[in-house]
């Protein structure tokens, strides 16, 4: 049990918790999206890091190589990155619309303006 072997996981946990914290603690809608993006990035690391074997090469069968890295996590994460990009794009688009409708991207000011509407 050495810490170095689990370094990838520590980074993953750091990004995961950090992203989630930004998401919850910040009131600015854009900063929340940044937190969300960081949180999603941690998942990419969670998948990709264990797929790499130390001393392993790209998974192309050739003479002289016996250890190959697992290519499947990369494929999965390419898909997950696309999903993440789509989510972020949609989040930013909605934020732009919120800015147009409310004139602000601060959560507390938006709530205040809703309350001023009498609801």
């Amino acid at each position: 049990m050495n810490t170095a072997a689990y370094l990838g996981y520590w980074f993953t946990i750091f990004l995961m918790v950090g992203g989630l914290y930004i998401l919850i603690a910040r009131g600015n809608l854009l900063k929340k999206l940044i937190g969300l993006a960081v949180f999603q990035t941690s998942v990419y690391l969670l998948y990709v890091a264990p797929g790499k074997l130390i001393g392993g090469t790209a998974p192309i069968v050739a003479e002289g190589f016996t250890r190959y890295s697992n290519p499947l996590p990369h494929v999965l994460i390419l898909t997950a990155i696309v999903v993440g990009v789509a989510t972020l794009a949609l989040g930013l688009a909605i934020t732009v619309r919120i800015r147009e409708a409310y004139g602000t991207v601060e959560e507390d000011e938006i709530l205040e303006r809703d309350r001023a509407d009498g609801e």
Binding site: V43, A80, G91
Partner: protein, 493 residues
């Protein structure tokens, strides 16, 4: 040809969406959406009846055999959910035309139909796929299109509701992927059936339990399990009527399906329920949802929010059945997926008509005054669906609650029977507020008859009629649910 039905179930609505965007015509968009919705219903019923005859169907996408390729798989449970989703779609799509025309700007209407088709494709995809990662992709396809549907609402609060739902939903989906990632690390496979087999050989339980926790919380966010339901009331209240009707009837139900799938067919249910306090946690959260959400509904002024809180409570009944974990309670849960879907669908479709005729974008309980005179058929439909929501004998809601009570008695939890009856009484209170406003308030002179358009009314009343139909003929609802429950529990004992 017939074996390709599994793929067509998802491919049809998915191809319709880009086609609609390319043609950019709202009438074509509506026609394509309706045609696709009906085609999906036909396919779903065909698949369901074939599964009932000859057992689970499997389809290797691109002819890559599972577990390497993505497998589409329909069994007793997913067949049932497919019928629920496509049945709702078939009712909502024809009704959508007038509602969308009134609530969405003309140049955006075709996009709304495209999003609706994508959402349908995503929900059907979640149900039909046998691959854990593919399920995530479909989950995000349905969720992203749902956020757009909500953001198209007329009031600016719809944007904030969509944003909040997007944050919560994405966190939920990401937690689910983390869980799947841990399972993949332990088993080296993403095929759900294969994963279940390999998990039995895994000795190191801690990552598996962590995966269970991540998946439970992630999917719990998606299905609005109390106390993760905060996104739901605003999302339902401010979305366009047609989107609310479709999402309320299907989205959370499909998430419940994912939970059932993981708990009973991927993980070994015995340790989940015997060695962890899963049963206690589910029962406690479900009771909390049933009681608090129902009480909030009693004091809510906005009608759509009132019924949204009622949805949170009804999801409590469904998760209660999972927590009780026996044949009767699971039958009740799965039946309630359908019954509550039809009931809530009917209510929101009817409210869509009310919104269409109302002067203001939101409808309050006070604003329903005199509804029975202005829109007698709509008010009548609301009463029927309301009775089903309460669970009055002779309606669909009664049947599923009956099985839940049987399940609670079988576990010897008599106090739960009291809770179910008590929360039904709270439901009487909030449904009565709506009925009272519609029938006993409002003056004669201000009430000009202005019934909802016929197209909308037919769909709405047909759904209300289904609430009664499933209260009497339970051969499909309870029959299908009992088969599904038996299929889920066969692994347990």
């Amino acid at each position: 040809m017939l074996e390709h039905l599994l793929a067509l179930q998802v491919v049809l609505p998915m191809m319709a969406a880009p086609l609609i965007v390319l043609v950019r015509n709202r009438d074509f968009a509506w026609l394509a959406t309706t045609a696709v919705s009906y085609a999906c219903l036909v396919i779903a019923i065909a698949l369901f009846s074939r599964v009932a005859e000859s057992g689970p169907l499997s389809y290797a996408l691109g002819s890559w055999p599972p577990p390497w390729g993505i497998e589409y798989r329909v069994d007793a449970l997913s067949g049932f959910v497919l019928v629920l989703v496509s049945l709702t779609a078939a009712f909502v799509a024809p009704y959508a035309q007038r509602s969308i025309a009134a609530e969405v700007a003309p140049d955006r209407q075709y996009l709304m139909y495209a999003m609706y088709c994508l959402c349908l494709a995503g929900l059907l995809g979640i149900t039909v796929t046998g691959d854990a990662f593919n399920l995530f992709v479909f989950l995000e396809i349905s969720s992203l299109s749902t956020y757009v549907l909500i953001a198209l609402g007329t009031r600016r609060k719809a944007l904030v509701a969509a944003y909040q739902y997007m944050l919560m939903g994405t966190v939920g989906a990401t937690l689910y992927v983390i869980g799947v990632g841990l399972l993949y690390l332990m088993t080296g496979t993403l095929n759900l059936g294969d994963m279940a087999q390999r998990l039995q050989a895994v000795d190191e339980l801690r990552p598996v339990l962590a995966a269970l926790a991540f998946i439970t919380v992630g999917i719990g966010l998606k299905l609005a399990l109390f106390p993760l339901h905060q996104w739901l009331p605003n999302a339902y209240a401010y979305a366009p009527s047609m989107a609310t009707a479709f999402i309320a009837a299907t989205a959370t139900k499909v998430s419940v399906y994912v939970l059932l799938r993981f708990y009973f067919t991927v993980f070994d249910p015995a340790p989940i329920f015997e060695r962890l306090p899963t049963r206690e946690v589910f029962i406690a959260l479900s009771v909390a949802a049933m009681v608090t959400a129902s009480l909030i509904a009693v004091f809510e002024q906005d009608v759509k929010r009132l019924f949204a809180y009622s949805s949170v409570a009804q999801i409590g009944y469904i998760t209660l059945g999972i927590g009780l974990e026996n044949q009767a309670s699971l039958t009740g849960s799965i039946t309630h997926l359908l019954n509550h879907g039809v009931t809530k669908g009917a209510i929101f479709v009817l409210l869509g008509g009310v919104v269409l005729r109302a002067a203001t974008p939101g409808v309050t309980v006070a604003g329903l005054a005199g509804l029975a005179r202005r829109m007698p058929l709509t008010a009548f439909g609301l009463v029927i669906a309301g009775l089903s929501l309460i669970g009055v004998p002779g309606t669909a809601g009664f049947v599923s609650k009956w099985y839940l009570i049987l399940g609670a008695i079988e576990r010897g939890l008599w106090w739960l029977v009291l809770v179910i009856v008590a929360t039904s009484l709270i439901a009487v209170a909030y449904v009565w507020r709506v009925v009272e406003a519609a029938y006993f308030r409002g003056s004669e002179e201000e009430s000009r008859r202005a019934e909802a358009p016929a197209g909308m009314l037919v769909a709405a009343l047909a759904m209300a009629a289904l609430c009664v139909y499933f209260g009497f003929d339970t051969s499909f609802s309870v029959g299908g649910a009992a088969d599904a429950a038996e299929f889920l529990l066969r692994g347990t004992r």
